[in-house]
Symmetry: C2
Subunit: 266 residues, 2 copies
């Protein structure tokens, strides 16, 4: 089977959706059969790719409520090698509707267990650690953490890793945190250099511990701040389709290459 990656950070606005779209499209361009899953009730991943499901179109909401529905029946083809399982804002209701279901945290894992259409599945998560994010953590084989090199964003990483550790202990023992993606990176600021140093020290010190992030590294390259990345969603496109010669496209394609190399060695 392929890789299932949860793209997670409860800190808001750090580049989760932007990374899911553009890393995903980069992997697809390099020949990797890729599926993106929108697990955020804001439905920003779907919006970013210009997909607004009609009232009777199936979405990820249906996958979570109907355990017999295969993911490939809900997936929409975006471009060669790239599919999307879209969301609608009704996804927000799942938190309450599944509140009493004993398997509420493993529904997505159950759905994806039977599908082997894709080499890589990337799951975009909301900025919280509730039922939807726990579904992603149960379904995933690994976690990528997009992060901005700012003080507040760094503080949250510790809490996030703690939560992932708890999930490992209960529903998904083999889950690993494999990579941190630096987003909106401003290499020339002192703040960015200091935060990156703090982060590297933290990851180094975990090498010898028995924690899900012992092999975690900062993926390269850092994604530089580039206004083209913020323009692409208004055209319903990934950065590679919108402006293939931009710094944003360059960085995300190089990141996709780095990820594939890591997976080949893994």
């Amino acid at each position: 089977a392929g890789r299932t990656v949860a793209v997670i950070n409860q800190k808001g606005g750090v580049g989760k959706t932007t990374t899911t779209v553009n890393l995903g499209a980069g992997l697809a361009a390099l020949g990797c059969r890729t599926c993106l899953i929108d697990l955020d009730p804001q439905a920003h991943l779907s919006l970013h790719l210009g997909i607004r499901p009609a009232a009777d179109d199936p979405t990820v909401y249906d996958l979570l409520l109907d355990q017999d529905l295969p993911a490939q029946e809900v997936a929409v083809r975006i471009e060669p090698n790239l599919d999307l399982v879209p969301a609608e804002t009704d996804l927000a209701a799942v938190e309450t509707e599944l509140a009493t279901a004993p398997d509420r945290h493993t529904r997505l894992a159950h759905t994806l267990a039977n599908s082997n259409m894709w080499d890589a599945v990337l799951i975009d998560c909301p900025p919280s650690l509730g039922t939807l994010t726990l579904n992603a953590l149960s379904a995933a084989s690994e976690v990528f953490v997009p992060m901005q090199a700012h003080f507040l964003a760094l503080q949250g990483v510790g809490k996030l890793l703690e939560t992932i550790g708890l999930v490992c202990g209960s529903v998904n023992p083999s889950l690993q945190v494999s990579g941190i993606v630096l987003c909106m990176h401003e290499t020339q600021t002192t703040l960015a250099r200091e935060v990156v140093q703090d982060l590297s020290d933290f990851l180094e010190s975990a090498r010898s511990q028995d924690v899900p992030w012992r092999d975690c590294r900062v993926l390269t390259p850092a994604i530089r701040r580039n206004i083209k990345l913020a323009e692409a969603p208004s055209f319903g496109q990934s950065i590679h389709a919108y402006d293939p010669t931009s710094r944003g496209a360059e960085d995300y394609l190089a990141l996709a290459q780095d990820v594939l190399t890591m997976w080949d060695q893994g």
Copy 2:
């Protein structure tokens, strides 16, 4: 009584916490007795001001669970005219602990109803529309919406206003959306100009409707992107204490002035 403002946007990372701290500190500097309430389980408002409550210190969590506890017993003095009701990450438990309480959405409103220590109360909210944010909407007399002039952020504003409309209909009929605060603003980009134009057109078209945002305007000035604003939290200070001559301090002080003028005319 004074003004109670909910600082809300379910889109993550748009400047909610940064605005609550720096607008609040600006109002305090201009002589307004101000209280900031941290209603985000990330506890970033508290962290931004260098407050890490000890295990037995009361926090906003205690206010929500014990309806007889006055807010002033939990508030911590930050500087003259500026108090903080801090949060701890245990606040995340409130969503489940109050799940069956009939008054779970009006607990904060009940607590604040009896306190008249402050001229202005600003409530920092998490990037979601759950129990904590609904508590802020019930307690508030008005809403400020921090926003980045990006496509994805603009899409969410419609959904946010719809939710506020629902709250108005049920628990808080007099709630008004009075202002949009443009954050991390990059005046020179085409994207920012287009989004600001779309936003202004949307607000203009609402003038004649019977909606809670009919009098809403874009507050001035826009807050320019300024790395000093991202540095200040690592020193536990507002921008005014950290770097009073920075563009960030200038913008937020001018914003505080604009808000006081709006309130004097209101």
